[in-house]
Structure formats: C-alpha cells, structure tokens
Amino acid sequence: MAQRTLKGRVAIVGIGETHYYKHGQSPDAEFKLALQAVLRACADAGLDPRHIDGFASYGDDRSEATRLASALGLPRLRSATMQWGGGGGGCCAAVANGAAAIATGQADCVVVFRSLAQGQHGRFGQASGAGAAAATISGERSYLAPYGVISPPQRFAMRVQRYMHDHGVRQEALRAIALASYHHAQNNPRAVMHGKPLDAAKYDASRWIVEPFHLFDCCMENDGAAALILMDAQRAADCAQKPVYLLGAAAGSGPRFGSFAHNSIEYASGNFGTVAPDLYRMAGVEPKDVGVVQAYDSFTGGVLMALAEHGFFPPEAANDFLVLDNLVAKGGRLPLNTSGGNLAECYVHGFELVLEAVRQVRGTSSNQAARNDVALVVGGPMVSPVSDLLLGSGDVL
C-alpha cells in the first residue's frame, strides 16, 4: 500500500481574490464576491473554469458548492466538502480536504475558497440583528453570554491572559505581532490598512477592547472573498504558474479542548499540541526549515501561542523572540504575516493567509521573504478544530 500522505501529491495552481473592503462597503453580494474570486483564481492558473469539479470551504460558508456549480454551469460536481466548526480554524483544513479528494481520485480540479460579506450578513464582533433580540441562548454560549462573555475577543482573552501569566509574556510581545502585520500592509496595495501605518506609541495609546487586547490586537471585520485552485501534481506542471505543492497538512484538536465553558484541559493553549507534530511529520521538515509563516491573527495572543507550539521558540523566550525586527520580511529571522493578515490586509477568515503563503513560495509577494521554499500557514489558534499547512516549491519534494 502506498504511503498515506498528501506530500507532493497535490499542488496549488491558481489564486485569486476580490477587492478587499471594510465591512459593509462591498457593492457586491457575498455570493458574487465568491464567484469573482473563483474566476480570478482560474484566470491566474490559465484554466477554463469549466474544469472545476469540486469545492471545499469552512466556517459555514454561505456560498454553497451546489449553487456555485450551477452558477458557473459546470458540467459536473464531484467533491463538495465543508470543514466542521472552528471558525477560521478551518482555513488550512479546507485545502487539505480538497487535496484529499484529488489525491484519492474523487476529483481533478478543486476550488478552495472563503467568501465573507459582513455588511450583508452581520459582524462576528457585534451582537446585532436577530442575535441581539434573542431572549434565550443554548449550548456553550449559555454559560458565557449571561456574564457578558459574548464576542470572539471576549471568549479568547482569558486564554491569553493565563498564557501570559504562566510564561511571563509581556504586552510588548503582542504589540510586535500587530506591528509586523501593519508594517507589511504598508507595502501591500490590497491591504485595507495600506496607507495606515501603526507604531508602538499608537498601539500603546489605543483603547482596550478587552484586557489584554488593545484595539490593534484584534482583527478587522471585512467584506471579501479569496480562492485557490488545486490539481494533482502531474497536471499542475502544465499550468501557467509555478506549482506550489502541499508538503504537509494536519488538523484537529487536543483532548477535550472544546469542552464547554472554558474547561479545556490545556486551557492556555492555541490547541496545536497534537496538530503541529502531525504536520511536521507528514512534511518531513522541522521548524528550522520554515522560511516564512502566515499565522491566523484574529488576536495577537493566538499568534504568540501558535508560534511557540510550532517550535519557533519556547514560551519563556517569547519576549526576546517577538520583536519587530525578527518578524519583518526584509532581514527578519521569521517573517510573519507578510500580507498584513487578518489584522491589516483583510479578514477573509484567514484564507488571505493561505494565498499569501502561495505568493511567498512563488516568489511574488510584495513583502518577499528571503527563504521561501517552505512556507507555513497556521489556522485558528484557540479554537477547535485548528488546522495547518506546509507549502513548498518543487525543490523540496
């Protein structure tokens, strides 16, 4: 039996995204944004959209595979997968699910995408619309919302607070993560925060959202869509772009991480304790081989945990490692979130991070890292399930 792996079997052959908007500013409906991103990814790949035979997404994306296939007049739909739960934690798993369909012969050309128009459908960060009027709630939220622990920053701040307490991490470490994203966004014309630089003084003076998160520790909310196209490695070589191969993929959760009302066994954690080792094992690489990282930045504190759990530094060394000079594309030890990410490029639920990792391996990022043959994407710290991807060039297969 062949080795069970995705390494080298599947490649990303095209990427595309819409214009990125502040939430509520897209003139187009969410589904139209999804279509635009899909077609741009096809154009990038030099591919007739009618070759698409699969869709994969996550985060309960509303742009259903069946409607997309109908709208695009596809001759057939073969694979339609949705990663359960975890919000943005599925951004890498969706790619892995699509790749698995190709590697097992269930599809030939899968689009992986996320479309999100928060103006049309409501923001995650505000209890508004029908949600605000609801008299009762159920599930985990019923143990949290009556105490005013409602929005994502409120649900994650206590994990970060405990982590900072356990390991002596200072606010400056979180600040460096925010500064890196904004630094890179200034050189990325797609970024919503392009032309809006951030410095340490502005960060320090910004209001608290929920301690220990300042305003700039929290991601934006946006309207936009992003997509990529997967094909099997052999056919990818015939496409217009340099193929970017999957080296490794892993997703999941540690023991009882999602147990209700903050009863995770490993509470102060990004939830990569079981996932990161699987990722490195499949890819056959080590942290020192990774040249550039896109780490899901809904909140800076989650990036802190994720980087430590992927072996880039022990938690006790976070204050020394997490300084701006180490995190910038030009000359940094570990270039981080080189498009600006969720904090400063666009909150497409982390899918913009996957596209940026592809650009890095291609060598076409506006903040190009020097070492780009192995690029890591980390999806969704502190949620369950989380997911990871390692992408690489043909040289590292």
Partner: protein, 135 residues
C-alpha cells in the same frame, strides 16, 4: 441580556442555582468530574452522570476586563470583569462568571473567591447567575 435556555442537559444546573446550590456532574461509576454537562461520562462512558452539589468556592484561574460593549444591553456598563474560576472541591472544574466589586480593581490569578447567587426573579422566566467576590 440573553439568558440560558434550560435544555434537558443543563436543566439541573440552572435549577440548582435558583436554590443557591452549585451542581456539577460527577460520574457515579468512575467518579470523574465533568462540566459543561454532557449525556455521557468522558472517562468511562457511563450515560447520564450524576449531579452533585459542591461548595461555591474557588480560585481565579484567569480574568478579563471588558471595555468595549458588544451587546446593546451592555452600553454604559463597561468596564466589567469576567473571571474563570477553578473549583478545587470539584476536581478543578472551571466556571465563567463576573467578579463583583470595583470593575477597576486589580485582579490576581490564584486569588480565592466566594460564589454569590444573583437572582433575577423579575425575568419572564426567573433565573439565577453565579457571580464571584474576592474572599
């Protein structure tokens, strides 16, 4: 603010709070503590774990001070403190609540706290929340 819907699984917990009793699950077979409640014991897979009363006393495991109101009912009520309280008498289970008193007080992880049953009899479906105060 929205209140908890007392589904079949969580009904004993919310009913207990109304009687000023803190109830959590404990498996009658293997004695494993469990919260939030579930239909099965995560250790030995016996169904329908027992509900047992534990003292409403604990230690602050983590905390947050909320400055930005995200619900219309919270406008004008910020900042406020949320705490995660570890229950040493219940195998280290944790509960989320509010820390009462000055919202600007210095909060210390590890501080001992006492539960306070906060009744809401005026609600259309009366309910009780479990809040915390430093001891």
């Amino acid at each position: 603010m929205p209140v908890a819907e007392t589904d079949g699984l969580s009904a004993p917990y919310w009913a207990g709070l109304q009687q000023e009793k803190l109830l959590v699950q404990r498996c009658s077979r293997c004695k494993r503590w469990q919260f939030g409640p579930e239909w099965i014991c995560h250790k030995c897979h016996a169904f329908d774990p027992d509900w047992v009363e534990v003292p409403a006393e604990g230690r602050i495991y983590s905390w947050e001070r909320v400055w930005h109101p995200v619900h219309p009912a919270l406008k004008g009520h910020c900042p406020y403190l949320a705490v995660l309280v570890e229950l040493p008498h219940a195998g280290g289970l944790r509960m989320v609540g509010n820390l009462l008193g000055d919202p600007l007080q210095e909060v210390r992880i590890g501080a001992e706290v006492q539960g306070v049953f906060e009744h809401h009899p005026e609600a259309s479906q009366p309910y009780t929340l479990l809040q915390w105060r430093c001891r």
